[in-house]
Structure formats: structure tokens, C-alpha cells
């Protein structure tokens, strides 16, 4: 059962081969059997899941089922869920039970999907290895000594190990695409503004975007169709029609112009990963795509610009955690100042405090122009580079990560080295474009991936290229040996 994609599970439900209660119980059993070693879930919502599954089965008997009714999924623990705690991987929110649902949660629930639980993540989505969670690191299902990537490491590991057919996730600088490639699953970061940020705990608001991790590009298309769309409760949501992604992705690859930016294939890239990416590119060429060499000259400045902007926005967003209205409060505060400072010092982990500090510095009097404003000007240059490229090409192919999944603890002592791991995903967030990460040929038993970058709202084209590649290959179908 677990080898199937989400859409195949949906079909089995539709055919009456299995009930939602059976399918949900099946995944709850898998979580119980396997998650102790992976640590991919923070909270498992067994009783609620079975109640939702029963409701889904009743809806089906009444002839009221939609295409995704009764299919289980997991939510990254950054999406607020009414009545179920939302921790964001932080001690600060260890006891936080949201009084409302995120729009993403609401829409998937309205489609009849069943929530299995909430997945582990780097604290407040800050990290590239899932080692920054206050609930401990998540392990990579392909090799437990290695990281699953981050920040959506729990969602990626859970989908890779088939503890859930799919999971929601968020991507600020690569947090969907990088764990997707480290765990060998498919991950989509939509266009900025495509999916509502309402109820999604904020890290860097001008970059954060909700998306999903799944087995196949088609699964992601089905979920995107449900999650996407305008939401008046998110002030940066864009009012743009939502196409039928599953229908659109059947468009042929023949004749598409696929750009290969030389700055993404530089000497930072592991030669073995390059070979896997080139194999995917050759497959699209074989299907009729035309390859075009392009250049994005400002790309080398993307990573420093990103960390200035993300840290600045984080320092501002996380000012709301004051120990007064919700979240962690220190014991016996002497006065109000002591209450604020100690609650925050105790509630936040080291990386979050580091980013708050650097962001506060970058926004402080006398430094704002040199850091924050300058970084936002560089961001404009990067966006222009992409816009010029999209005059010549329909989509861009690139690696996702320059390195293979690394060992736990390998990079925790050097924050800048950790930041540089996201060099191929960050530019996409700065420009606000959609990016898709697809599993490619593994290297020494470890997953690799290829990234497709599209123009604004061109998710369907990326998913179509992804589906075409996945019809020819079965890397996305591979289940890690311990979880078969």
C-alpha cells in the first residue's frame, strides 16, 4: 500500500479497495513502527485522524467525496492547527495551541484530507539540516547517520519513509527543495503569493512560501490545486486564477526552451551530482526540449543578500514572542524587562538567537543602508537577471544542492558553511519564483535531485516537465531499504 503515490491512494479509495479508516490506521501503524528512529513527527494525532477518516468514509457513502477525500497527509509543525499544538520546533512554542487553523490546513481539510500529525523541523524554519529542532534532529531514512536536510526535514523524511503519502512544507531559502533532494522525494515551492501564509508561523515574510513534499510531481499538482489561491487574510497573497494543474501538466515537453545557467554549474557543485543533473537534462532534450545556455550574473551575491534580508525580517517577526500573550515565560521574573529577556533567551535556540542578533544589527541605526537596503537592491538585480533569462527560455534546470546529504554534526560548528549549502535554492526565493525539486540518479546510495525554476505562476509547466521525467524514470518510486 505504501509504495503507491498519493493519487494512487486516492484511486484505491474511490474504487472501494480500501476505506479511509483502514488507510489512516495503516499509516498510523507505520509511524508507530518506524518513527522512533527517524524522529520525523513532533505530534501524532491518531484519534483526530481516525475521526476525520470516519467522516471521510461517511462522505463517500453519501456520494459527497471529492478527489482527495480520505487521503491522509502530515503538516509541517509551522502551520497552525486549532486544538493541536503548533511548536515550530521551538521551546518557545512547546505549549502553544493555536486558536485558529492556517488557510492551508483549512483548505486541505475542506477537501476531506486526513491529518496524521505534525512534522519536525528546524526551529522557526531556520536551518538546512533539521539539527536546530528543540525536539532533536530528524534522521535521513536513506542513512540514519546523515541529515534529511532542512528546514522541512521531518516532512521530507516522513514522505521518503512512506510514513505519510505527502506532507505540507514551507520554503524561505530552500526549505522544501533541499530536504526533498536529500531524502529523494518531490518538492514544490510555489510562486511567492500563490499559497496563503495566513496561519503559517512567520520567519522572513517577504520570502516565506508554503508548498508540499510528495512522491511524484502529479501528487504535488493535486495538492497545489487545493492549497493555492487568493486569501484576503494574507496581505501579500496574489489574486491570480488557479489552473487545473493535473490537466495542465500533460502539456508536451517538445519545443520547450530549457535554460542552463552557468552560475549554477560552478566549481561548488559535486561532480557526481552534476552528472545526475545532466542525465535529467538529457532526458528532457530527448523529449524534444531545446537546451539554451544562459547567465545570471548577480547570482554569486544571492546568499549574502538572502541572509541579510531573512535575518532582518526574522528579528522583526520574532519580536512578537514576549512571554506575555502566549508561548514560553521564564520563572519568577524580577521585572518586565527580565520577563522579556529571559523568556526569549530560554525559549529560542542558538541559531534563532544568532539570526535575531544579526538581523537586529543589520537594521540598527547607521547600518541599515549598508546591509538591509543594499541587500534589497541586490535582490532587485537578481530578479532582473531571471526576468531577462525568461525572455529566452521557458524554464531553467539546475542542481538543488551542491553537496550530498552530510553527516549529523558535520557542519554545526560553522554557521557560514551551513548557509552556503543553500546557494542554488536561495536565488529562487529572492526573485519569488516557483521551484521544483525532483529525485535524480542516486550517488553511492544517497539521493540527489534536479531543480526546475519557472516564471511567475508557471508551476504547471514545471510539474509537467517533472511528470515527463518521472514517466521515464523511477527514482521517485524508490523506498529506503529499512522502510520497504
Amino acid at each position: 500500500m505504501h509504495e503507491r503515490t498519493l493519487l494512487e491512494q486516492a484511486q484505491a479509495l474511490q474504487d472501494g479497495e480500501v476505506s479511509s479508516v483502514e488507510l489512516t490506521q495503516f499509516y498510523l501503524n507505520r509511524i508507530q513502527a518506524h518513527d522512533e528512529s527517524l524522529n520525523s513527527f513532533v505530534t501524532v494525532t491518531g484519534a483526530q485522524a481516525l475521526a476525520q477518516a470516519e467522516a471521510a468514509d461517511r462522505a463517500r457513502s453519501a456520494g459527497e467525496a471529492g478527489p482527495l477525500t480520505g487521503v491522509p497527509l502530515a503538516h509541517k509543525d509551522i502551520f497552525c492547527t486549532r486544538g493541536v499544538r503548533t511548536t515550530c520546533g521551538s521551546r518557545m512554542l512547546d505549549n502553544f495551541v493555536s486558536p485558529y487553523d492556517a488557510t492551508v490546513v483549512e483548505r486541505l481539510q475542506a477537501a476531506g484530507m486526513v491529518m496524521l500529525g505534525k512534522t519536525n523541523m528546524d526551529e522557526f524554519a531556520m536551518g538546512s539540516s533539521n539539527e536546530n529542532s528543540c525536539y532533536g534532529p530528524v534522521r535521513n531514512p536513506w542513512d540514519p547517520e546523515r541529515v534529511p536536510g532542512g528546514s522541512s526535514g521531518g516532512s521530507a523524511a516522513a514522505v521518503a519513509a512512506r510514513l505519510a503519502p505527502a506532507a505540507t512544507a514551507t520554503d524561505t531559502g530552500g526549505s522544501i527543495r533541499q530536504p526533498a533532494t536529500f531524502c529523494g522525494v518531490t518538492g514544490l515551492k510555489p510562486t511567492y503569493g500563490r499559497v496563503s501564509r495566513f496561519g503559517m508561523v512567520a520567519y522572513a515574510s517577504s520570502l516565506d512560501q508554503g508548498g508540499m513534499l510528495g512522491v511524484s510531481a502529479e501528487d504535488c499538482a493535486a495538492l497545489l490545486g487545493t492549497m493555492a489561491g487568493f486569501d484576503s487574510r494574507d496581505s501579500t497573497s496574489v489574486d491570480h486564477p488557479v489552473p487545473d494543474y493535473q490537466k495542465e501538466l500533460k502539456q508536451p515537453v517538445d519545443g520547450l526552451r530549457l535554460g542552463l545557467p552557468k552560475e549554477f554549474f560552478d566549481d561548488r557543485l559535486d561532480a557526481r551530482i552534476r552528472a545526475s543533473v545532466e542525465e535529467a537534462v538529457a532526458a528532457w532534450e530527448g523529449q524534444g526540449a531545446q537546451l539554451v545556455e544562459i547567465s545570471l550574473p548577480n547570482l554569486p551575491l544571492a546568499t549574502p543578500a538572502y541572509y541579510v534580508i531573512a535575518s532582518a525580517e526574522c528579528s522583526s517577526n520574532l519580536a512578537r514572542y514576549d512571554g506575555v500573550r502566549y508561548g514560553h515565560r521564564c520563572a519568577d521574573p524580577e521585572d518586565l524587562e527580565d520577563l522579556f529577556c529571559r523568556s526569549r533567551e530560554e525559549g529560542f535556540g542558538a541559531e534563532v538567537r544568532r539570526r535575531i542578533m544579526i538581523g537586529t544589527y543589520a537594521l540598527s541605526a547607521g547600518y541599515r543602508e549598508a546591509y538591509y537596503d543594499r541587500a534589497r537592491r541586490v535582490r532587485q538585480l537578481i530578479r532582473r537577471d531571471f526576468q531577462q533569462a525568461f525572455e529566452k527560455v521557458d524554464a531553467i534546470a539546475a542542481p538543488v544542492s551542491p553537496v550530498l546529504p552530510f553527516r549529523l554534526g558535520e557542519k554545526t560548528q560553522d554557521p557560514v558553511a551551513m548557509y552556503l549549502i543553500d546557494c542554488y535554492t536561495i536565488p529562487v526565493n529572492l526573485a519569488g519564483l516557483p521551484g521544483l525539486s525532483l529525485p535524480a540518479r542516486p550517488v553511492d546510495g544517497l539521493p540527489t535531485g534536479v531543480q526546475l525554476i519557472g516564471n511567475y505562476f508557471d508551476e504547471a509547466r514545471l510539474l509537467g516537465l517533472g511528470a515527463a521525467w518521472q514517466r521515464e524514470t523511477d527514482w521517485h518510486r524508490q523506498v529506503p531499504p529499512g522502510f520497504a
Partner: protein
């Protein structure tokens, strides 16, 4: 880039954080390395380039000035560390005399 302990303490005060002496040393080192990494941005030629806000250059939306949220004060205060009679309780801000 070299940061002094005094600078780090100043930023911590603005950020409402309170690093202990060991952490302060660690922050001097880490923040220094990060700022050195940021220094590359000075190479960028950005004269006349507008700082970017939203990738799609959308304007802030306006809406009718109408009440859209129900009063859920009790739900919101239920999750507070210390709330009583509709108020959030904190240590005294003013002296009692």
C-alpha cells in the same frame, strides 16, 4: 570583522536577549564571521537600483472598514502564561508608592 563585547551587548539589549558570558564570546566570533561574509555585498553595483519589496510589485490592498472578526478574547487569553479577568498579568511596571 571584529565586534566588541560592548557592541554585542548593545545588540542583545535591542533584541531583548540576555546571552551569558560564554555565549557572548561565541556570538562575537559567529557574528563577526557572518558580517565578514556579508561584506561581499559592498562589491555590488546598485546605484540607481530600487530596493525590492514584493517580487510581483503588488500594492497593499484596501478593504472596507468593517468588523470581520468575532470577539474571541477568551480563546486568545486561554493560551496566555498568566491572564486573569480579561487582562494579561506581568510584573509591576510602576512602583507601588
Amino acid at each position: 570583522m571584529d565586534l566588541t563585547a560592548e557592541t554585542v551587548r548593545g545588540i542583545a539589549k535591542l533584541a531583548r536577549l540576555r546571552p551569558n558570558p560564554d555565549e557572548e564570546q561565541r556570538l562575537i566570533q559567529d557574528l563577526g564571521a557572518i558580517l565578514e561574509f556579508f561584506a561581499q555585498l559592498s562589491e555590488a553595483e546598485v546605484d540607481g537600483i530600487e530596493p525590492m519589496a514584493h517580487p510581483l510589485e503588488v500594492d497593499q490592498r484596501m478593504r472596507e472598514d468593517e468588523v470581520t472578526e468575532p470577539d474571541r478574547r477568551e480563546d486568545y487569553q486561554e493560551i496566555a502564561p498568566d491572564a486573569r479577568e480579561g487582562l494579561y498579568r506581568v510584573p509591576a511596571v510602576l512602583d507601588s508608592d
